[in-house]
């Protein structure tokens, strides 16, 4: 199954020295991250280390205080944030589907209102995308009638329908019952294999080991160590990473 239909336009992503404070609380203290075009970076680390915040600075749901975010080497901080977010898909822990709309309408809303596609074209794109995550038959139900795993696959389809150049996943499987995790991870792995540039904040170490090109370990607002999965998991240099791995593996 190929989940992505248009990943030829993937871009490389770089996060450079990003700082962010909420009031007195310094959440990011110079975080760096490099993802090659079509690459997948998994961000791991303890709770409160700034993983989700870092993800949100990439599509500027949160504006960094300092530092830069580059797509294909070009800073995005001067761009219109709304236009930027159409190029960057994001998937949330709690899915954030719109509960008052059908599954299909969840997908067509942005296609019609932002991409200005005519209704029938939007429906066609949406149905194709739903089919790719195996949920075409659920197009006309409300999100509440789906399982968590199905809802998350719809959320992924909703983001992909806009043909993003980068996909961000914020603990996409953390809210799921264990038996539903696999299906969602499968969709994500397919997407990665199809060449989508992805940043995946996750607690699924197996996924990171198998799918990621880069694993980045975050602690206290910085990326302490980053490298290929084998290097990070088998030959961790930093003691804090070793301690973290000993707790989660």
């Amino acid at each position: 199954m190929s989940t992505a239909t248009a990943t030829a336009t993937s871009v490389s992503l770089a996060v450079r020295d990003v700082h962010l404070a909420f009031g007195q609380h310094q959440v990011l203290r110079g975080a760096d991250l490099e993802v090659a075009r079509g690459g997948t970076a998994c961000v791991i680390g303890p709770s409160g280390s700034g993983k989700s915040t870092l993800l949100r600075t990439i599509n500027r749901l949160i504006e960094p205080d300092r530092g830069d975010v580059l797509l294909d080497g070009r800073s995005v901080l001067g761009d219109d944030p709304d236009a930027l977010r159409q190029r960057i898909g994001m998937v949330f822990q709690q899915f954030n589907l719109f509960p008052h709309m059908t599954v299909l309408r969840n997908l067509t809303l942005a296609l019609r209102k932002l991409k200005k596609l005519p209704e029938d074209e939007a429906v066609q794109v949406a149905r194709t995308q739903l089919d790719l995550v195996g949920l075409a038959h659920k197009a006309d139900v409300r999100p509440a009638q789906l399982s968590g795993g199905q809802q998350q696959r719809v959320a992924i389809a909703r983001a992909l329908a806009l043909r993003p150049q980068v996909m961000l996943f914020d603990e996409a499987t953390s809210a799921l019952d264990p038996e539903l995790v696999k299906g969602v991870l499968g969709v994500m792995a397919d997407l990665s294999a199809a060449g989508m540039t992805m940043v995946v904040v996750t607690h699924e170490m197996g996924f990171a080991r198998e799918v990621a090109d880069t694993v980045a370990f975050m602690d206290a607002g910085v990326v302490l160590e980053a490298g290929p999965p084998a290097a990070v998991f088998e030959a961790a240099e930093h003691p804090r990473l070793r301690r973290f791995l000993s707790q989660v593996l």
Binding site: A83, P99, R105, D140
Partner: protein
């Protein structure tokens, strides 16, 4: 005559009711509906603007909304209707002539807007922040996210309270009689009151009361029905409630949910 049957006659004089009935139906009922429905529409639009202003990050929108709400919720409806209906009458005279309806509707709307604004604001604020984040992440601006995602959900949650406000509006529409109505402008209450005043018998007024109940009781049951449906979630076969809001804020079914 014994006191009890006198009492009965005072309220249930069928002949008096029969005499008032045609005017109630052909004049009073349409006029009450005109007042209540137009004030409901205008009041809801104004209420939506107040609600959005009330949650604005700019204090120059938030404060006026707050003051407005305090003033129009705090004044007696009768005082507001007289102040606006009589106070602005010279102005109205130049624009649309002596008809007291425009100013009556305006006064009713301004009062209703204060309450409806608070209802809508509560509903909008009850929508989880994650919904806004989800919409923004797709590339919607704050305004688009509010209009397409947040407000429709928020309004849905407070529909029962909104319908309650419509009930209050139907009842308050009786107060425009303060502004002086010619025969054809009289609404239910005024017609009942006129008959009662000329005959000294309250039956026509009681009939007017029954007409009010005819309008309000079904609405109270509609409130309960909506409330139950929102609580239980929609039945699969239920009519689609997909709502998109115009910037002005009146909910309108799109009716083109693709199947």
């Amino acid at each position: 005559m014994d006191p009890l049957s006198t009492l009965w006659e005072t309220f249930f004089d069928w002949d008096a009711m029969r005499e008032a009935l045609p005017e109630m139906v052909t004049v009073g009922l349409p006029n009450t509906l005109i007042l209540a429905v137009s004030a409901a529409l205008l009041g809801s639009v104004l209420g939506m603007l107040l609600a959005v202003a009330g949650i604005s990050r700019t204090r120059w929108l938030r404060w006026p909304a707050r003051v407005y709400t305090d003033v129009f919720r705090g004044l007696p409806a009768a005082a507001t209707i007289l102040l606006i209906g009589v106070g602005l009458a010279p102005l109205g005279m130049q624009v649309w002539g002596p008809n007291p309806y425009p100013l009556g509707v305006l006064a009713l709307s301004l009062i209703a807007a204060a309450y409806i604004g608070e209802i809508f604001r509560a509903g909008i604020q009850s929508v989880e922040a994650a919904q806004l984040e989800g919409a923004r992440a797709l590339g919607f601006s704050w305004g688009e996210a509010m209009r397409l995602v947040i407000v429709p959900q928020g309004v849905r949650r407070v529909l029962p309270a909104w319908v309650n406000q419509l009930i209050a509006l139907i009842k308050d529409s009786s107060l425009v009689y303060f502004l002086g109505l010619v025969a054809s402008q009289r609404e239910l209450f005024r017609i009942g009151q006129d008959y009662a005043a000329t005959t000294g018998n309250e039956s026509a007024l009681l009939l007017a009361g029954l007409f009010y109940l005819l309008l309000t009781v079904p609405l109270t049951h509609a409130v309960n029905w909506i409330d139950r449906r929102l609580r239980q979630g929609r039945a699969v076969a239920a009519p689609d409630l997909d709502v998109e809001l115009d910037p002005a804020g009146a909910p309108a079914p799109t009716g083109k949910d693709p199947r």
